[in-house]
């Protein structure tokens, strides 16, 4: 056990002192107050409860309590067949349903012998990237609200509306699509979709820039986020952070590059990592910047996909879907890059049944949120709000 003693010192690390750290006056005697933040609170983004031990405005410790939105996804998944799980997956991270479906479907497809048509791959990437932008817009907008700026939020929602319309047009639903299916996709793109998406990309580029001018270049916004909630890269990896959170800590890691699933290796896009000129690497501002830059990259991906996507008349996107989805026996851990990080599924199949023996969802928000206790230590309440906002939690995915 000696080895462990040494190791503990290495992994349990106190966040380094930053200039924003608040010094509590030593000779003032004061009682600590327990403050319940949530489950109904404007800045917990759903039904998260933080039990904060506070000394005046300074949070000594914040302990998250989850489970208010627990809907037994994993138990449900054991009760229904594989195609039946997809709608449940939709409802996990309800802001990025396409990406959830994508992650789940490529996981199951690993155990199935199916050849996915090339056009379907492109369609999947297009809808997933549209949804990624929509999700990042919500993240940025609600982050602005957390910091007291109301207008960027509505600008974000105005532009998100266009994306939801696009997705509604092709899938029939506005939020919970059930569009990407195991082995295929539900419907072919409607006529004119390509053109309208191209128009949207053209429309959105200047709007994204405007949003940056309004929010990211705002002096007060920078003051509220720079140097707040610092997370060094090694601790972030130890906590299992992924996605924009990990990249915000300066780790060049994107599953679209690393795992090279679907047609991502054919596309030209870069992994967004802040360069430290504008923000301190690992703070809330870096995480915000990563999201802002990723929207641009997603637009590039969509443009490339629209160009490269093979056109087929009378294309049947369901052609490759097996009649009866019964994966071969085995275990698989599949994952994809969600807007919030690595969404993974661990699936155990016995090869006989059409239902999984075990289907565990590795939720990115759940893992990202677990660092909350360490991040919140010694922060002011407004900074706590800023940190929660930068984690960009969706409680549907945290609680599953």
């Amino acid at each position: 056990m000696q080895e462990l003693g040494k190791a503990e010192h290495k992994s349990v690390r106190v966040t380094p002192k930053s200039e924003n750290r608040v010094v509590i006056e030593k000779d003032l005697s004061s009682e600590e107050m327990i403050l319940n933040m949530g489950p109904q609170h404007p800045s917990t983004h759903g039904v998260l409860r933080l039990e904060c031990k506070t000394d005046g405005e300074v949070v000594i410790e914040a302990e998250p309590y989850l489970g208010y939105l627990h809907r037994c996804f994993e138990k449900h998944a054991e009760m229904v067949d594989y195609p039946g799980i997809v709608p449940f997956v939709d409802r996990m991270d309800y802001l990025a349903s396409m990406n959830n479906d994508f992650a789940f479907c490529i996981t199951v497809e690993k155990l199935l012998d199916v050849e996915i048509p090339r056009r379907v791959e492109f369609m999947r990437v297009i809808v997933a990237e549209i949804n990624r932008i929509a999700s990042h817009l919500v993240a940025i907008g609600t982050y602005a609200i957390d910091l007291g700026a109301f207008t960027p939020f509505l600008f974000c929602f105005r532009d998100r509306e266009h994306m939801l319309n696009l997705l509604e047009w092709t899938s029939g639903a506005r939020m919970l699509y059930n569009y990407i299916l195991i082995g295929g996709i539900a419907y072919d793109f409607p006529k004119g979709f390509k053109q309208r998406t191209a128009e949207f990309v053209k429309y959105f580029r200047p709007k994204a820039l405007e949003l940056q001018k309004l929010l990211t270049e705002n002096e007060i916004f920078v003051k509220r986020t720079k140097g707040v909630g610092m997370m060094p890269a090694d601790v972030a990896v130890n906590y299992g952070w992924s996605g924009p959170m990990l990249r915000g800590s300066g780790v060049d890691w994107d599953l679209r590059k690393e795992d090279a699933y679907s047609i991502y290796p054919e596309l030209d896009f870069k992994v967004c990592v802040p360069d430290g000129r504008f923000s301190n690497i690992g703070d809330c501002l870096s995480r915000h910047l990563v999201r802002a830059m990723e929207m641009e990259e997603s637009l590039n991906i969509i443009e490339q996909c629209l160009e490269m996507m093979p056109e087929e008349d009378g294309f049947d996107p369901k052609a490759a879907i097996p009649k009866r989805i019964r994966p071969k026996a085995g275990e698989v851990y599949g994952r994809a890059e969600n807007p919030r990080g690595e969404l993974g599924f661990y699936i155990q199949s016995d090869g006989k049944s059409t239902r999984p023996l075990r289907c565990k969802a590795r939720s990115s928000c759940f893992v990202n949120l677990s660092a909350m206790k360490e991040l919140s230590h010694g922060q002011l309440i407004p900074d706590l709000v800023s940190i929660i906002g930068s984690i960009d939690i969706v409680l549907g995915e945290v609680d599953r």
Partner: protein
């Protein structure tokens, strides 16, 4: 579990996992099982759970392994064998890039698995979740409480033989 598939042209993932397993086998010998060389998720099992913490530390800190990232920790129920278990998906993120999965099992009744939450912080909440859903205990866990279910919930919902309690605080639980 299924036997290792004979694959003449093994994928690079399996080859990497094999190299990792060789290092571990040399160090820990009988404490770990043979590597299951399936192409989807190569894994081995820790046969002596009491060594699991040392294996985890070794895997994280050994310069040849450097498994700094725990992607996932899933609880699993094996009713036929009367066991519960966990499956850990580990990865050397940004350093060596290899992946491997590890299984640890314990008895179904009052089974104990050493906690690795101090090795990988990810495990802290995932172990709580596994405890919440399956009821195995993690020795050395700093804060082993239920995480998704209420504190006073009865039973462990993801066990295969789970029966929903009739009422919860006087409210009928829908079945």
């Amino acid at each position: 579990m299924e036997e290792a598939q004979e694959n003449t042209s093994q994928s690079p993932e399996v080859i990497e996992a094999k190299a990792v397993w060789d290092v571990l086998k040399e160090k820990f010998g009988d404490a770990i099982s043979e590597l299951d060389e399936n192409p989807f998720m190569p894994f081995f099992e820790v046969l002596q759970p009491e060594h699991w913490l040392n294996i985890a530390l070794f895997m994280r800190d050994n310069p040849e392994l450097r498994f700094n990232y725990m992607a996932c920790l899933s609880g699993v129920d094996y009713p036929e064998e009367g066991k519960l278990g966990i499956v850990c998906n580990l990865e050397s993120l940004g350093e060596l890039g290899h992946k491997i999965a590890i299984k640890v099992r314990c008895k179904r009744d009052s089974g104990v698995i050493p906690s690795v939450s101090r090795v990988w912080k990810t495990a802290e909440w995932h172990e709580r979740e596994a405890f919440d859903m399956y009821g195995m205990s993690f020795s050395g866990h700093p804060d082993l409480r239920r995480i998704l279910c209420p504190e006073d919930w009865e039973g462990y919902p993801l066990r295969k033989d789970y029966k929903v309690q009739e009422t919860y605080h006087g409210i009928k639980v829908p079945n």
